[in-house]
Amino acid sequence: MNAVVTQAGFLTSVQDLGRTGFRQFGVSTSGALDSFALRVANLLVGNDEGAAGFEITLGGLQLRFEDERIVAWCGGEFDVQIGSRALPAGHVAHLQAGDELKFGPAQVGCRCWLGISGGIDVPVVLGSRSTDLRANFGGFEGRALRDGDQLSLGELRQSETAAPAGISSWSAPHDWASPASRHPSLRFIRGVDWNRFNDVTIQRFTRHEFTVSADSDRMGVRFDGSELKREDETDLISEAVAPGTIQVPPSGKPILLLGDCQTIGGYPKIAHVITVDLGIAAQLRAGDGVRFSEVTLQDAHRLLMERERDLERFRIGLSLQRA
């Protein structure tokens, strides 16, 4: 059975947890820019964490379902309606055949991830169902959704059709379901080229607020504000970059790379946003003010491990509730 796209919105694409194993061939990660949000949404609807869902940018998506499905979304602050009922972030809704789900414009943040029971049944390309929007493959026909698209959904498990009707009164933890902020702080660890910048520049980076520029996309967030000029202008040999890398081109305006970023780069890497904060980075929109604060690599790993343990507890809680 299908989900029918009655309105595609600003930019909606099929994404899972991303594509790995083909970086040596220049293939980007793609995937949900906040993979944690998609994992939580998938768990809420009874899917495997890695099932394909929708990444919705700035809202406007309207979907009609041809059969009954369980849905949940996590991410920025959006008004989401099922008919006249509101579906808040992190809550679970049991939709009936013919129900329509509507995403209003983003109030805060800019993206959210919709999990649908059964997942979105698009072909696996290079090990993933994610859309590579730059190279135009994967996902639904290698592109963003358009009005009128019909996407086939995966088989439902029996336990899912027995779920209670309506919208759940409980939800996933607020920090997970709705992490967006207009003035977030992103934690980073030092990049390998940190020492190529002098003390004044480093102070600018760690003390000033940077404004998100309008020409940001799934490849990266571009910043306006203090310029981060380095002293030596020697060309660096290109090597790998990764989602989270903050590189500084000759303009001095830093770029925070996201999931669609290219696999290699030759600009100095001043820092890397830690994995647990990539979900906050995925919410940045033009005009937001961002500060950067340093943590150690050990802290980054500890925070990741703690979040993973919390998710494991949540997963167990969900399975007990369903039993």
Partner: protein, 246 residues
Amino acid sequence: MEIVPLGDSALVVRVREQFEDAPEATLDEVLRVFQLLQHADIPGVIELAPAYTSVAVFFDPIAVLKSNGAANGVFDELATRIQSAIIPASRRHRRRTVVSAPRLIEIPVCYDPEFGFDLDRVAEHTKLSERQIIDLHSTSEYRVACIGFVPGFTFLAGLPKNLATPRRDVPRKEIPAGSVGIGGAQTGIYPLRSPGGWNLIGRTPLQLFDPIKDPPTLLCPGDRVRFRAISREQFAAFAEGSQNDN
């Protein structure tokens, strides 16, 4: 050799400091490390990516922590394992992993001005005739130093020095798939329609990236590459032939 973090879920093994001094030896050494690490099966490692002087190692920190507790921290644990996977092999010269001889792949290129939009620009900069540019470009041998920028984009080392031409000041918004270009001291092939700032000198009818194939690229890091000049008629016949294959 140094190992440096690339965020909390990747690191870079810098095999050499320079590339241009000795491109062949550097590439061989990078590929040797790449292959040793591929066979090392280090727990938690997800994938590897070689580039010029380095091999990047992408890993799942949770899997590293779960596999051994990593009392020394995830990074130190991995760095130790990587070093022991690489260094003993280089000490045991005679028993070290044999890196298979690189393949030689021939790429047909039509250097007609219809495809080589910037032949005149390269001619002006290099003070060579278009004929000389084509002869030089198509009689040299290159090696794939790196694949990146977009899927399947090959950065080739070995461009004759007198062909080097600075990138265009204003990049083109759209470059046709298969375009062969010169960007500074490098040459390369655009596998997909994409923006780009290199000087275009020709086009290949071959498909360099196909996501439904394994591997998805025609060329792999380390491959030897030669260009063979073809006419517009041969280009058309090639393009037709590959369409019929599909």
